[in-house]
């Protein structure tokens, strides 16, 4: 079954409609990079997984020195603080594509050195 047919009611479930998972084509830009991250995800995928995959693609990571450096996905002008929601929860049930920007937020004032942050 390809992405375009996902989500249709299967014949076996007639009378008891069950939607198959839909796929969302995701793209992510990062200002310094000439490359764009593109990947297809099931709509149940958490935003955190998209964030992590995009960071890996762009070669950046959350980091803590005196400050906390954390990367966020921005969607339609909104910084996504809640990365435990799914693509479906963010986009609604029928949207098949989404574009994000990867941006960094630095929170100043920590005093530990050189630690990578655990992923959420």
């Amino acid at each position: 079954m390809d992405a375009t047919t996902q989500g249709e009611v299967t014949p076996q479930s007639a009378g008891h409609p069950v939607l198959a998972r839909e796929f969302v084509e995701v793209s992510v830009d990062y200002l310094p990079s000439p490359n764009q991250f593109r990947q297809s995800y099931k709509d149940e995928t958490l935003i955190e997984m998209v964030r992590t995959d995009a960071m890996t693609f762009f070669g950046v990571k959350d980091f803590q020195d005196r400050n906390i450096h954390k990367f966020f996905l921005e969607f339609e002008g909104r910084v996504l603080e809640n990365t435990s929601q799914s693509l479906e929860q963010l986009l609604g049930p029928h949207r098949r594509s989404a574009h994000f920007n990867l941006i960094e937020r630095v929170t100043q004032g920590c005093d530990s050195n050189g630690r990578e942050l655990p992923s959420c």
Binding site: P32, P34, F57
Partner: protein, 179 residues
């Protein structure tokens, strides 16, 4: 899946980029505060910088000893730049009078950390007008490295005839600078 980046060997800057950067940061520098600019262009072995963004206003903090641009402004600039196939290639900012044009700890660690990113420090609040007097640094192998004078001469070429665009940005959007 990891992106591969072509190493930047040299940079070509339209001279107007330097002029517009100085025009924007000087008035703020003369009031004792830091200011800066984003330099954008095409990332290739010889990277061409032909657009300057002058962040100012909502989401931009210009203080003595600190110039910061919020993630929201970075988001606005990203949304504007990517459809134009522009990448951020360098960030220039001032140090106030009497502070040497070298990267401070916060410049080094709070700035954009990406391979071959330029971080340029303009001394004396923008009154150091000669680009060879500025502090030039490049991000390599996980940290910024200062470029020696001869390296700046060899690797950074100023194109006196180069076409360029100048824009301002804040958290609300990007606007073209006229004139």
């Amino acid at each position: 899946m990891v992106a591969n980046y072509q190493a930047v060997e040299n940079w070509v800057l339209a001279e107007g980029i330097l002029r517009r950067t100085l025009d924007a940061v000087r008035p703020i520098g003369r009031s004792g505060r830091e200011a800066g600019a984003f330099w954008l262009g095409t990332r290739e072995s010889t990277a061409r910088i032909h657009a300057v963004i002058l962040p100012h206003g909502i989401g931009v903090e210009e203080h003595r000893g600190r110039w910061t641009v919020s993630p929201e402004v970075f988001g606005v600039v990203t949304r504007w730049a990517k459809p134009r196939n522009l990448c951020l290639l360098g960030v220039a900012h001032t140090h106030v009078r009497g502070v040497p044009p070298v990267l401070s700890w916060s410049d080094r660690n709070l700035g954009v950390r990406f391979p071959d990113m330029l971080a340029v420090i303009i001394g004396n609040g923008g009154d150091d007008s000669g680009h060879l007097d500025w502090g030039w640094h490049v991000f390599e192998d996980g940290d910024y490295r200062s470029l020696a004078h001869h390296e700046v001469r060899e690797r950074v070429r100023i194109d006196r005839e180069g076409q360029f665009e100048a824009w301002t940005a804040d958290a609300n959007g990007v606007q073209q600078v006229r004139g």
